[in-house]
């Protein structure tokens, strides 16, 4: 295909360097410097998609982030990227692009049939249609998504890498147009560390397509010079292809830098994108403005474009997106497009100006070219199918609210429209600054600064080139001074430009039609989501008043373009329908992200192995060598069970559990939290934190304690040992270690700073091997000869310091299985040595390594709770049948004590811990099952509790479960029911939560 619309080289393209690409599988050629959009337009491609709701043909409208229609799928396979705007995709050799909506194709779209039923899909359609019946929603959604298109995500893993950079600077300049460039230059000269970022492929902003003369040079040459000057500063970082997408608290700005997207998906040059997390002392926002389209009937037909975009394609890219241009404007500024089009050698059919008597300098220049200017007129409708064929033009009244003359048909294939400009207030809005309506610029200006930022140039509502330069320079100097550099005086003369006399624009947000808005052909406000002027008016008639509600009801501004083109028109139309001013109606609030940001960049390197830290015990490698299956407990990798050849998990767990009770087992308990507590007030402090007392705990002794939150609910549990006078070791649960540490520090630091007590986390310092079972003592005796292990000397709940397999050890005789147990703590780097020595010593007793699953089963057989599994933050010690651990006679009112007397804590019918024994012993109730008393009752049933732990117990020969049941302690012997999701019900008897060895005799092994 010949590039019919290529004029030659533009200011930023080189027509001698061709680039091959494909669009919907068809090979096409662009040139160096093209975007995908400019290359498509050069090739005469103007139909690029179908609209979201009505599937109407849509063409390229803009030239940047505001583009609503040209949404593309780029590339294929693992690296494919959906929903990119063709106006922002730089062309590279071999680029594959496909339009994302249009099914089966954009040219023949089956879904266009819904266009005929457009009136059946009013705003709020989704709410109205799909609210009931709810279960059909999945069906609808599937159909809607397929019809809507909107790209497809890659199904493979992302092959690219992404980086995050934490940056600091004195002055961050966002936008490198005329205002941003001068701001950065002044700040840099003052000596500030400057970062200047711009979303486009190169710096310049509006200057890239400008025909102005600056300091006697063509704008693009002046631009090259100042960019080179900036790059020459050692204290300036220039970031092209970098979008500031979010402005967060305390001058924290997120910037997405696209490093290799423009080189193609196969180009590997390190990270594809970088997320710059910039903390700036001062920020200068120079983000520019978006031209506002005019809203007239069928303004969505391909061939209706933004006036400034037409100029950009002509001047910057050397592409004329049509032949016969009709320009429709409300302001002087857009006349430049007619001049540019004329100079490109193509025909300007007419300029239609809604104002009665335009006489500005650019108007005169257009008239001098012999171009017809139709003052006091408006384009009320565009006609054509997949391309504009003609415009219907009529005389308007002075206010632009009514058609007052006959309708003329003017043939053309391109309608450029300009309704003035809307400052890009997005980033300032992110800071909480509420945009303020300013009738003098017919737009919202940024609100009062909430952070160390200022908006300059077009994003502040200043549109003259001279004004942009002046504001930019002063803001740069001021920002530098506030950051501690320079004295606010300008170091450079403000660039000299020719002032062009302009007349005021007219505010025109909805072009009238000969028919009423509701009867006229659709006048589109939001092109991407098919929101029309009549839709907004209908929403008002249906009673919606708030701009935020209208936005959600009509979906205006919800697309990937976030309403950058249409929102202001929509709000003005809304204000008019409500009979309010625009200022009263206000705007919706812009939130991050300014443009879509890839998940890859947000994740950065925190994926795969680096997603989260993994913690290993000192014995981990041994577990791996033994073929252990692992369980994640917090960040810890804990052995779950150790399957032998061909064993299922249940078989392995059965074997491990039986071994513990019949001979001896060994568990890696190193992950338990350990906090070393020292100081003269240590015992007093610990006694305040636990429900029981430690004041009389002698060195060499241990005590089990339960910790409550101040609301009386169980928070953590564990054993605390007195190591020496004023020296204790507190064990916590594996998952609760950090929280307990912070909890102790909180009380010590903020409530009782006078207590002399100090905490040190020693979890990682120790490796803990627990040997448990009737033969545990015999095993330990083989590797420990300096401790008297006899039952009388080394009693239950004692601890001793000795030597185990040559290593200095703290041995605790405490038990989580109910069997004779020793928890052997050695410095972590001796961990594996001691573990292997214990395995060797235990060989004759067939010592069996067991994991967390068997640990859970064994403790459940004994009715020992696991905090966080059998409790959920709403359980008191009494609920857990653990009143014995609460000492109510302590002098100090320990944390949580008073709450145990609250009316709710002593209420009858609280959920209480019980055991459950299924009537069928082989049946294991799923954990989390709800419990009811009457299985025959109507659904929804009255839920009376739930199952917290449930296992098959090989030692008992039947399943066991722990549950919390309302009033459970007084319901022993009753039958309860667990209705399952599949409709089946399991019956179980409430029994004691202690299934095994209720007298606790097992640990008294002689």
């Amino acid at each position: 295909m010949k590039a019919v619309n290529r004029l030659g080289s533009g200011a930023r393209t080189d027509s001698a360097k061709t680039i091959n690409f494909t669009y919907n599988g068809k090979p096409l050629q662009g040139v160096a410097g093209d975007t995908l959009a400019s290359a498509l337009l050069a090739n005469g491609v103007n139909l690029v998609g179908r609209s979201f709701k009505y599937s109407r043909p849509r063409g390229i409208v803009g030239h940047g982030a505001e583009e609503p229609n040209a949404i593309m799928q780029i590339g294929s396979g693992a690296g494919t990227v959906p929903n990119l705007k063709a106006t922002q995709v730089e062309l590279y050799e071999g680029l594959e692009a496909a339009s994302v909506n249009g099914w089966p194709s954009v040219n023949f779209d089956l879904m266009a049939i819904t266009g005929w039923f457009g009136r059946l899909m009013p705003p709020g359609f989704y709410y109205k249609t799909f609210m009931y019946p709810a279960k059909l929603w999945m069906t609808y959604e599937h159909f809607i998504r397929k019809a809507a298109g909107l790209g497809s995500s890659p199904v493979q893993n992302d092959p690219d890498s992404y980086d995050k950079l934490n940056q600091h600077c004195d002055v961050l300049v966002i936008g490198a147009g005329p205002a941003g460039l001068t701001a950065a230059r002044e700040a840099a000269r003052a000596g500030a560390r400057v970062i200047i970022a711009d979303e486009q492929s190169e710096f310049g902003g509006s200057l890239l397509a400008s025909t102005d003369i600056i300091d006697g040079l063509p704008a693009t040459e002046w631009l090259d010079a100042i960019v080179a000057e900036l790059q020459g500063f050692a204290n300036v970082q220039t970031l092209p292809r970098s979008t500031a997408f979010g402005y967060y608290d305390h001058n924290f700005v997120g910037i997405l830098e696209r490093r290799s997207d423009h080189l193609g998906l196969t180009a590997k040059t390190g990270a594809r994108q970088r997320l710059h997390r910039v903390r700036a002392k001062q920020v200068v926002l120079a983000a520019g403005a978006f031209e506002r389209p005019l809203v007239f009937a069928h303004n969505d037909i391909p061939g209706v474009m933004q006036a400034s975009s037409v100029s950009t394609y002509v001047n910057r890219y050397g592409v004329a997106p049509g032949n016969d241009l009709l320009l429709f404007t409300t302001n002087d500024n857009a006349y430049q497009t007619a001049i540019d089009w004329h100079n490109a050698g193509r025909t300007v059919v007419a300029v239609v100006d809604s104002r009665l008597n335009p006489t500005g300098e650019r108007v005169a220049a257009v008239t001098a070219l012999g171009i017809q200017v139709m003052a006091g007129h408006g384009v009320i409708e565009a006609q054509g199918g997949k391309r504009v064929k003609r415009a219907l033009v009529a005389q308007l009244n002075a206010e632009g609210t009514q058609v007052i003359g006959p309708v003329t048909k003017i043939a053309c294939d391109l309608i450029a429209s300009s309704g003035g400009w809307s400052p890009a207030v997005h980033l300032s809005s992110h800071t909480g600054a509420k945009p303020q309506w300013d009738a003098s610029i017919v737009g919202f200006r940024p609100g009062k600064s909430q952070q160390q930022e200022r908006s300059v140039g077009a994003c502040g509502g200043t549109y003259t080139l001279r004004g942009c330069f002046e504001e930019g320079a002063s803001a740069g100097a001021q920002a530098a001074m506030l950051a501690g550099f320079g004295d606010d005086s300008l170091m450079f003369p403000v660039p000299e430009v020719l002032d062009i006399q302009e007349q005021p624009q007219q505010a025109l947000f909805l072009v009238p039609h000969t028919k009423s808005t509701s009867r006229a052909p659709s006048q589109f406000v939001d092109l991407q989501l098919d929101v029309s002027a009549s839709g907004i008016e209908l929403a008002v008639r249906e009673g919606l008043e708030s701009v935020e509600h209208i936005k959600r009801y009509t979906a205006m501004g919800f697309g990937t373009d976030q309403g950058k083109l249409g929102n202001i028109n929509g709000m003005a139309i809304l204000a008019n329908a409500l009979g309010q001013s625009i200022a009263e109606t206000g705007t919706t609030i812009f939130r991050p992200s300014y443009t879509p940001t890839t998940f890859g960049a947000i994740a950065g390197r925190d994926v795969g192995e680096l997603f989260d830290a993994e913690r290993y015990t000192a014995v981990h490698r041994w577990h791996v060598e033994q073929g252990a299956m692992f369980e994640d407990v917090g960040q810890w990798k804990r052995p779950w069970y150790f399957p032998k050849q061909g064993e299922t998990m249940q078989e392995a767990v059965d074997r491990e559990c039986l071994a513990v009770r019949s001979s001896v087992g060994i568990l890696d308990a190193s992950t338990l939290g350990k906090i070393d507590i020292q100081g003269p007030d240590a015992a007093e402090f610990i006694t305040r934190m636990y429900t029981n007392s430690y004041l009389k705990l002698a060195p060499g002794k241990c005590r089990y304690g339960v910790m409550l939150k101040e609301d009386g609910m169980i928070f953590d549990d564990g054993v605390c040992a007195c190591l020496a006078e004023n020296h204790y070791l507190m064990f916590t649960t594996t998952g609760g270690a950090a929280a307990v540490m912070a909890w102790l520090e909180l009380w010590k630091q903020t409530e009782w700073p006078d207590l002399q007590v100090y905490f040190t986390s020693v979890t990682d310092h120790w490796s803990t091997a627990t040997i448990t079972g009737p033969n545990a003592r015999k095993v330990l005796a083989k590797v420990c000869d300096d401790l008297d292990l006899s039952a009388d000397s080394f009693q239950f709940m004692d601890w001793r310091e000795g030597t185990v397999a040559g290593a200095k050890a703290r041995v605790f005789r405490i038990s989580f299985t109910g069997e004779l147990s020793y928890e052997i703590n050695v410095p972590a780097h001796y961990g594996r040595h001691v573990w292997e020595a214990l395995m060797e010593a235990g060989e004759e007793f067939d010592i069996t390594a067991y994991g967390t699953e068997s640990m859970h089963v064994l403790r459940a057989e004994k009715g020992f709770i696991i905090v966080g599994q059998d409790t959920d933050g709403s359980m008191t010690p009494a609920d857990m049948n653990m009143d014995w651990v609460v000492n109510k006679n302590k002098a100090f009112s320990f944390i949580g004590k008073r709450s145990l007397e609250r009316s709710d804590s002593v209420r009858e019918n609280r959920k209480q811990l019980v055991g459950l024994k299924t009537l069928d012993g082989a049946e294991v109730i799923p954990e989390g099952s709800q419990i009811v008393f009457d299985s025959k009752q109507q659904i929804p049933m009255s839920m009376q509790g739930h199952v917290t732990s449930s296992y098959y117990s090989a030692n008992m020969g039947h399943s066991i479960a722990l549950a919390v049941v309302k009033g459970g302690h007084s319901r022993l012997g009753q039958t309860v029911y667990c209705p399952l999701a599949n409709g089946r019900t399991i019956a179980a008897e409430i029994v004691s939560s202690v299934f095994y060895d209720p007298q606790g005799e097992r640990q008294h092994v002689e």
Binding site: H250, P753, R898, E901
Partner: protein
């Protein structure tokens, strides 16, 4: 993301290093047993939720591990001061009101 000055470290650090730990200056009653359920409930559960100046506790979890207080404007998220446990704030809702 907030930038928080840790008065112990005497450095401005990123919010990621800190944990918010609730309202500051809530004193635990000395004799809980002498309080009614309602009074104890007030201490346990009722917190200020001001629009504007708020005194709060922060924990420098990934830093020095110490607690401190901050006076923060809940509207603008501006942190007016951070100070040590045991100290009194310089900025209060009254002083802010007076200065406006």
């Amino acid at each position: 993301m907030l930038l928080i000055h840790c008065p112990h470290c005497r450095e401005d650090r990123e919010e990621e290093e800190f944990h918010y730990s609730g309202e500051a200056h809530i004193v635990r009653p000395l004799e809980p047993e002498n309080l009614s359920d309602e009074e104890w409930g007030d201490y346990l559960f009722f917190r200020k939720n001001p629009r504007g100046i708020h005194h709060e506790m922060w924990h420098h979890t990934a830093g020095c591990g110490r607690y401190f207080y901050a006076t923060r404007n809940t509207v603008s998220y501006q942190i007016l001061e951070t100070y040590m446990v045991g100290e009194k704030p310089q900025h209060t809702a009254d002083s802010a009101g007076a200065s406006q």
